[in-house]
């Protein structure tokens, strides 16, 4: 019995394909993704990248909407502080999403499901690491139901 049950559990775990939405700054993290690709680094196809002109273009609505419509994890990736293409954008990102991250944790969203990080255009390795890291953790957590619209089908 237990063997069959275990097999079923393994099967279920395999059946779970996490969906991660990554908002990437056009000038650094998106180029970082490109570099990861051209360097033939592996990062999973479960990551759906949405290119934004700057990490501070991301609105809190976007993050919640991603969770509402099926995302199991959300990533915001921008230039390192000091390197913003528009001089100051990511300083705002830092304040805004520091607060949002804490707020989401406060209402009970597992912390691993929402990640903000700085990834420059030259950090193809870091890009792959961050993406794999989030994916791994989300995989362990399983599908996200919190904040999900019950009427939405994946």
């Amino acid at each position: 019995m237990s063997v069959i049950a275990n097999n079923a559990a393994v099967k279920n775990a395999q059946a779970f394909e996490p969906l991660i939405v990554a908002f990437c700054c056009n000038w650094c993290s998106y180029a970082g993704a490109d570099l990861a690709g051209t360097s033939r680094l592996n990062y999973p196809a479960n990551i759906k990248i949405i290119r934004v002109p700057c990490s501070c273009r991301v609105n809190a609505n976007f993050v919640l909407r991603a969770f509402q419509r099926g995302a199991d994890g959300v990533i915001i990736a921008g230039c390192h502080p000091g390197d913003c293409h528009y001089m100051t954008g990511n300083y705002y990102t830092r304040r805004r999403f520091s607060l949002l991250k804490n707020l989401l944790a406060y209402v009970g969203i597992e912390e691993a499901r929402f990640k903000v990080d700085w990834i420059s255009a030259s950090e193809g390795n870091k890009f792959a690491d961050v993406m794999n890291g989030v994916l791994e953790k989300v995989h362990k957590l399983g599908p996200n139901r919190k904040l999900r619209d019950s009427r939405w089908r994946r």
Partner: protein
């Protein structure tokens, strides 16, 4: 007439719950609302009025009409219907009266099939108000809080340790029959006690601060009231939230919306509020662009338009808006401002 000891009520809930979905006034922290009964639920029969009116049950805030699903080139449609018969226990006479007002709208031609089904599947058990509060003014609409209201299948009275029970409709009688092992016949003493309590209610009503509200004293026809200057002043403090319309047992405006759920979805009906800027939004925009027009719409509907159509005010004096409006722009003040007040009782 039957009776049941109050400490036996949990058994009664349990029994009803076996065959019906049972709604009761249940306290969740400070707010008491009609919700489905579960063992151990904090049933509050003393709360005079729930935050949400029981309109929520017969006319839910969101009600799915149909679901659709795309399968290849085909579109699958499925009409949703209410699955279970239900019982609402502890509906106050004002709220029972509000059901009739909703019936006028939804059961008149053309009949609203979804609403009709909701009504047919429900059984209403009223509970008389023996202790009306300062915000109550149901007597202004000829509602007797101590009575067995028309429209209730069963009427009950809470006499402290006893609950008196009287079936009124055929449906209520059959329901009472099915519960006969828990209900016993009342004694002559019980009847007497009920009569005494009922007689005492009149004094209590006359003592209430809003007893002078009298909408029938409002003078003027539709056009005069519409053009009245009082609206210029009344609307000013309105914040434009929809609380009054959502807690109101008689507000019944709704919107139809579709939800696109990625290759599937649903069409649903949801409450709308004339206080909102997108109420009755049409291709050309909104017919009521200022808050003054919206406030006027709400009260004209309650006090003029609805009575013109159905010969009855669309208010039951439950006092929810009186208690809840953040800026105290309630229907009592509007009625008084329009001259709806009597000097002596």
């Amino acid at each position: 007439m039957k009776k049941i000891a109050k400490d036996q009520l949990a058994l009664l809930w349990e029994k009803i719950d076996q065959n019906y979905q049972l709604f009761l006034p249940i306290a969740k922290e400070k707010a008491v609302n009609f919700s489905t009964w579960k063992e151990g639920a904090e049933v509050d029969l003393d709360a005079l009025r729930t935050v949400n009116s029981p309109k929520n049950i017969i006319f839910p805030q969101t009600e799915t009409y149909l679901t659709f699903k795309k399968e290849g080139k085909k579109l699958g449609l499925e009409v949703v219907s209410r699955d279970e018969e239900y019982v609402v226990f502890g509906v106050r006479p004002c709220d029972v009266a509000s059901f009739k007002l909703l019936d006028n709208v939804f059961l008149g031609e053309p009949v609203d099939k979804f609403y009709e089904e909701n009504r047919q599947k429900g059984l209403i058990i009223s509970q008389a108000c023996l202790n009306p509060e300062e915000t109550c003014f149901c007597n202004a609409f000829a509602i007797n809080p101590e009575s067995a209201p028309v429209g209730a299948d069963v009427a009950t009275w809470d006499l402290g340790d006893l609950l008196l029970w009287e079936a009124q409709s055929e449906k209520g009688k059959a329901f009472t029959e099915a519960l006969s092992d828990l209900l016993e016949d009342v004694s002559e003493d019980d009847r007497k006690k009920l009569d005494e309590v009922k007689a005492g209610i009149k004094d209590k009503l006359e003592d209430l601060p809003l007893v002078h509200v009298a909408p029938e004293k409002i003078e003027g026809g539709l056009k005069e009231i519409f053009a009245s200057e009082v609206w210029d002043e009344l609307y000013q403090r309105c914040l434009g939230c929809g609380m009054c319309t959502y807690v109101c047992p008689t507000c019944h405006c709704y919107d139809l919306k579709d939800y696109n759920g990625n290759g599937c979805g649903e069409r649903f009906r949801c409450w709308d509020s004339c206080m909102f800027s997108d109420f009755t939004m049409m291709a050309h925009g909104n017919p009521r662009t200022t808050q003054k027009e919206r406030v006027r719409q709400r009260f004209m509907h309650k006090l003029v338009y609805y009575p013109n159509n159905y010969e009855s005010y669309a208010c039951v004096g439950c006092g929810r808006c009186t208690e809840r409006c953040p800026v105290r722009l309630d229907i009592v003040k509007v009625i008084k401002k329009l001259g709806g007040e009597r000097n002596e009782l």
